[in-house]
């Protein structure tokens, strides 16, 4: 079987895969990084979102072999080695940006990608960027609030601004 080598959260990892092995299967089933979720498996929900060479990608819709040599960051790579949460993760906790937590890994990866492209997004820009990330629980409001907070912007007047 062909081999694929990725840098995953800064560590070189190699596995033998089939042609059809998806990135999300490689991460979850082979590398046991189960923080990346499979929600829909049809490119709709974003629960599987990771960064590939810095860009947000749905890991359920990318072939492992096609990404040979790439740099992949998953939710497991977001916190510091001592467990200190990243600013986005901490903001999700502080602002109750999750309920069941199923969508959260993808939401955090999407939010981190947004803030690296656009460090001070507006509420409208945040909502637009999250179009490919679906949450069954929160109604999105607190997710938007968390991302706004993570970007260092005030959140007190958020309710008024989206009305």
């Amino acid at each position: 079987m062909p081999q694929v080598t990725l840098s995953v959260n800064g560590t070189q990892m190699t596995a033998e895969v089939e042609g059809r092995t998806l990135l999300v299967e490689l991460l979850r089933d082979r590398f046991r990084l189960t923080g990346t979720h499979i929600g829909c498996d049809t490119s709709q929900c974003g629960a599987c979102a990771v960064h590939v060479d810095g860009a947000l990608v749905k890991a359920c819709t990318a072939l492992a072999l096609d990404l040979d040599g790439a740099d992949v960051t998953t939710i497991e790579g977001m916190a510091g080695a001592d467990g200190t949460l990243s600013p986005v993760q901490q903001a999700f906790q502080d602002h109750h940006g999750l309920q069941c937590g199923f969508c959260t890994p993808g939401m955090v990866m999407a939010a981190a990608a947004l803030l690296s492209e656009n460090p001070k997004p507006t509420v409208a820009e945040i909502r637009e960027y999250l179009e490919g990330n679906i949450c069954r629980c929160t109604g999105y409001h607190n997710i938007v609030k968390a991302i706004l907070a993570a970007s260092g912007q005030p959140v007190d007047d958020l309710a008024a601004s989206v009305a």
Binding site: L22, D41, E131, G132
Partner: protein, 263 residues
């Protein structure tokens, strides 16, 4: 999804050779093909990824006022790099799907697929662009051939698309919020010798030119000129998201908005 062999050539010539078999199929960003394969609606024996071919990526202005976009260029790259040359096209790319889809999906994949609700076909047809393949050039007017149909031969690779640059243009997309494709999308492009209007999401045979609007707008480039027209006399898609007469109505509304917003 059934298993398959995988190849990732570095040049167009190698890709062409790899695709020279009934079993082989090209893979762009996979945003359409991989879901299709998961549903077992496609089961190629060999997938030939085009994402490693540097000569098929990028946005490049030509000396004679046209813009060439490589067939394996992602929507995100078009959004970023075409903005200075063809703002309406960059804006279209910026609103395809969602950020993750835009980071993988390619212009060549979108045009080869010719989904009746896809965005790029309207820009290509309204701009009078040229599809460049590994073996020939195809004018937009000869390329689109009904829903999911194109003039491409088996194994033919879209290596690039060449866009003439209009004086002003705009794309108006009425989003179908569940799929994020266009429920109706209208691309209006105004050239010194006339206006072209192409409609996606609406026609039962896929993207089409609204010729009555083109004639009216070539004489008088104004929203009022559109408002005075009857809705297009074209068979419309009619489904649970929108009935055909509603789509026809939206075509006129979106065309008017595109004219008002053109720059």
């Amino acid at each position: 999804m059934y298993d398959f062999d995988f190849a990732k050539p570095a040049t167009i010539a190698e890709a062409r050779a790899a695709l020279n078999s009934d079993e082989a199929q090209a893979l762009g960003g996979g945003q359409t093909l991989l879901p299709t394969m998961k549903q077992r609606l496609a089961a190629p024996g060999l997938l030939v990824s085009l994402t490693g071919i540097a000569e098929m990526k990028g946005v490049r202005p030509t000396g004679d006022g046209q813009l060439v976009i490589g067939g394996a260029t992602t929507h995100a790259m078009v959004a970023a790099e075409a903005a200075a040359h063809y703002p309406a096209l960059a804006d279209l790319a910026r609103r395809i799907g969602d950020p993750a889809v835009r980071n993988r999906g390619t212009i060549g994949g979108s045009l080869a697929n010719n989904d009746p609700s896809a965005c790029y076909p309207s820009a290509v047809l309204a701009s009078g662009a040229t599809i460049v393949t590994d073996s020939r050039e195809i004018a937009a007017d000869d390329y689109f051939d009904g829903m999911f149909g194109t003039a491409l031969e088996d194994g033919e690779i879209i290596t690039g698309v060449r866009f003439p640059l209009p004086r002003e243009a705009d794309y108006q997309k009425f989003v179908q919020p569940a799929s994020r494709f266009a429920l109706v999308g209208v691309f209006v492009a105004r050239f010194s010798d006339g206006v072209r209007v192409a409609v996606t999401g609406a026609g039962a045979q896929g993207v089409f030119r609204w010729t009555e609007a083109e004639a009216a707008l070539s004489a008088d480039f104004s929203r009022d000129a559109v408002a005075a027209l009857a809705v297009p006399d074209v068979e419309m898609i009619s489904d649970m998201h929108a009935a055909g007469d509603y789509r026809a109505h939206l075509v006129r509304v979106m065309t008017g908005r595109a004219v008002a917003a053109a720059r």
